[in-house]
């Protein structure tokens, strides 16, 4: 079990309040991702749940029990750190066994669980090595191994993949997802990478300056961002946002169109522009279109086969049914 409820939780460092009153429920077995730009309070929120920071006011409930004043070691949560935070003086085996040794489990039980974790994480050959002898990916797996053997109520991940290279990151992302499916344990994952958030989460919590901007499934957030911040943050490349006359035509202060909702043509379309740089991904190509009469360049996603050269004139047609509209406060107009 691992239902986590934050009830009007706040956090202040001295005079400055980094988390204003915040309510959030993470259901048992859910994969929740906290995402937001750096300094948005996502790591602080995770550390509050972990107990590594004291809650200034409000309550944190874990499975219905008030855990606000409970020390981290007694909350039944496991955490995976960005820096892996392995014990450098212990072998991989001892690292993984450490939390169980602290919990005073039987040695036979400890051995069995270490073996099982090592097997499922492909660490069997490295059990006697020290963390310093391992690669980044292996170290991260040891950190995950150390977390799973405790059979915690929930896993907390603090940007666990930021120190890995791109290819490894994708692989580890899948491994963590596999683990979630297998264990069906609550996981809270902090990242600044919205691609990680989109691909992993059951529930995304978008944070800005300690405020929750929106909570929802990845597709809810993508399809119906509640405000301009979420609209701009979720999605890669980011949504095209336009103000002025074009927005007024749609009875809005700002309108947003995702790059894939604009079609390109050499000859016809209501908007005309000049092709700037293009990013060829093979399957898709992103064109950055300038001189359209709008304030910012427009990004368009086209099929990988479509070929326009730098400086070509191009015509664009937005899909009218998927235009997002926002009012003067930046809030979504239904």
């Amino acid at each position: 079990m691992g239902r986590i409820v934050l009830d009007t939780v706040t956090k202040s460092f001295g005079e400055s309040q980094v988390i204003p009153p915040l309510d959030l429920t993470i259901e048992d077995g859910e994969f929740a991702v906290f995402v937001g730009p750096s300094g948005c309070g996502k790591s602080t929120l995770l550390r509050l749940i972990a107990g590594l920071e004291d809650t200034t006011s409000g309550k944190i409930l874990i499975d219905g029990d008030d855990a606000t004043q409970v020390p981290p070691s007694k909350r039944g949560l496991a955490m995976v750190f960005q820096s892996y935070a392995l014990y450098p003086h212990m072998s991989v085996r001892k690292n993984i066994a450490f939390p169980m040794r602290m919990a005073k489990l039987d040695q036979s039980e400890i051995d069995a669980r270490v073996e099982a974790a090592a097997k499922s994480l492909n660490l069997v050959d490295y059990l006697e090595q020290k963390p310093g002898q391992l690669s980044g990916g292996q170290r991260q797996r040891v950190a995950i191994g150390r977390a799973i053997v405790r059979e915690p109520a929930a896993f907390l991940f603090d940007e666990p993949l930021s120190n890995l290279d791109a290819a490894l990151r994708v692989g580890m992302r899948m491994e963590i997802l596999e683990l979630h499916k297998k264990l069906n344990t609550t996981m809270i994952y902090v990242t600044h990478d919205q691609v990680e958030a989109m691909t992993m989460a059951d529930k995304i919590v978008v944070l800005r300056a300690g405020h929750i901007e929106q909570v929802g499934s990845p597709l809810e957030l993508y399809r119906a961002p509640r405000n301009l911040f979420v609209a701009g943050f979720i999605g890669s490349p980011t949504m095209n946002l336009m103000t002025g006359a074009i927005a007024a035509e749609h009875d809005a202060t700002t309108i947003g169109i995702r790059p894939e909702h604009i079609s390109v043509s050499a000859t016809e379309g209501p908007w005309k522009g000049r092709v700037g740089v293009s990013e060829h991904l093979g399957s898709d190509t992103f064109f950055h279109i300038h001189d359209t009469g709008f304030a910012d360049a427009i990004t368009v996603r086209a099929d990988g086969e479509v070929d326009f050269k730098y400086g070509d004139t191009i015509h664009l047609t937005p899909r009218a049914d998927v235009i997002h509209r926002f009012d003067a406060q930046g809030l979504r107009i239904a």
Binding site: L52, S73, L86, M102
Partner: protein, 277 residues
């Protein structure tokens, strides 16, 4: 462009010469002391016997016959060992708290502790003597251990603090998440990780305790008197007996020189703490 440091030919030759010269300069007094310890008191003051003389063990025999050298040595060992242990027992938790749970006042406390080292010892000589005598602690091991601990605590806390600061906070927090209590954080994680630093700190502390003379001379008479007191006790009213004094000094610094020789690596690390990772 990469910056490449070239050592000139002059530098290649002059640097070792300079290093040796400085080394010999520092070594000379010790060498002279050892040499003098094998001369008679009469020979010791004669310039013609500076290097060439008839060596004698007279001074050493005299020392062991007239004084109980081993008791002084034993007192030095007892007070230095226990003072070092006590200092670490207080200093480790103290530095741990300041390194990993700093408060707004931590920097000020550190500065304040260091500032106590700026107080001239002579300024508190009278109150200390009065206090120890009225408490019945004068010339006791307990008092010397306490005084040596208090003298060295500031520098020990500073050194340990610097070492502990180099341990990533994440590792301590991982320990908290893994179910470790504060005691476990110190014994299971902190001490094993900072072992090198703790060892060099302990070593330096031990050396400082061993060599301390101001208080050990003034707060003891016989019972808790250390080797410093033995040296001091050889200042006879009728003049200085250089041969005898040298023998006593050699016997006093000998153990610590040998210890330092074996622990050179740790000592260098300790003396340059914080500077090199």
């Amino acid at each position: 462009m990469a910056i490449v440091a070239h050592t000139s030919r002059f530098g290649k030759i002059s640097r070792p010469i300079l290093a040796w010269a400085v080394g010999l300069l520092f070594f000379f007094p010790i060498f002279w002391m050892v040499l003098t310890s094998f001369k008679t008191d009469a020979d010791a003051v004669k310039p013609e016997f500076l290097i060439f003389f008839t060596p004698t063990l007279e001074n050493y025999l005299n020392m062991t016959e007239n004084y109980d050298y081993w008791r002084f040595a034993q007192n030095s060992v007892i007070t230095s060992v226990f003072a070092t242990l006590f200092t670490l027992a207080v200093g480790i938790p103290c530095a741990y708290a300041m390194a990993f749970n700093p408060s707004r006042g931590t920097k000020d406390i550190l500065m304040w502790m260091l500032s106590t080292k700026m107080l001239p010892a002579a300024a508190v000589l009278y109150p200390m003597t009065f206090l120890t005598k009225s408490l019945g602690l004068f010339d006791t091991h307990f008092m010397i251990i306490l005084v040596l601990s208090l003298i060295n605590l500031p520098i020990v806390v500073w050194m340990l603090f610097t070492y502990f600061k180099e341990i990533p906070k994440d590792i301590i927090e991982a320990g908290k998440m893994d179910g470790v209590n504060t005691w476990g954080e110190v014994t299971e994680i902190l001490i094993p990780l900072a072992w090198g630093g703790i060892a060099s700190t302990a070593l330096l502390c031990f050396i400082f305790c061993w060599n301390e003379a101001y208080w050990t001379v003034r707060l003891t008479t016989t019972e808790a008197a250390t080797l410093s007191k033995l040296i001091e006790g050889n200042r006879a009213p009728e003049g200085l007996f250089f041969g005898r004094l040298s023998a006593v000094s050699t016997a006093a610094v000998g153990p610590i020189v040998v210890l330092g020789w074996f622990c050179q690596k740790q000592l260098v690390q300790g003396l340059t703490f914080g500077a090199v990772k």
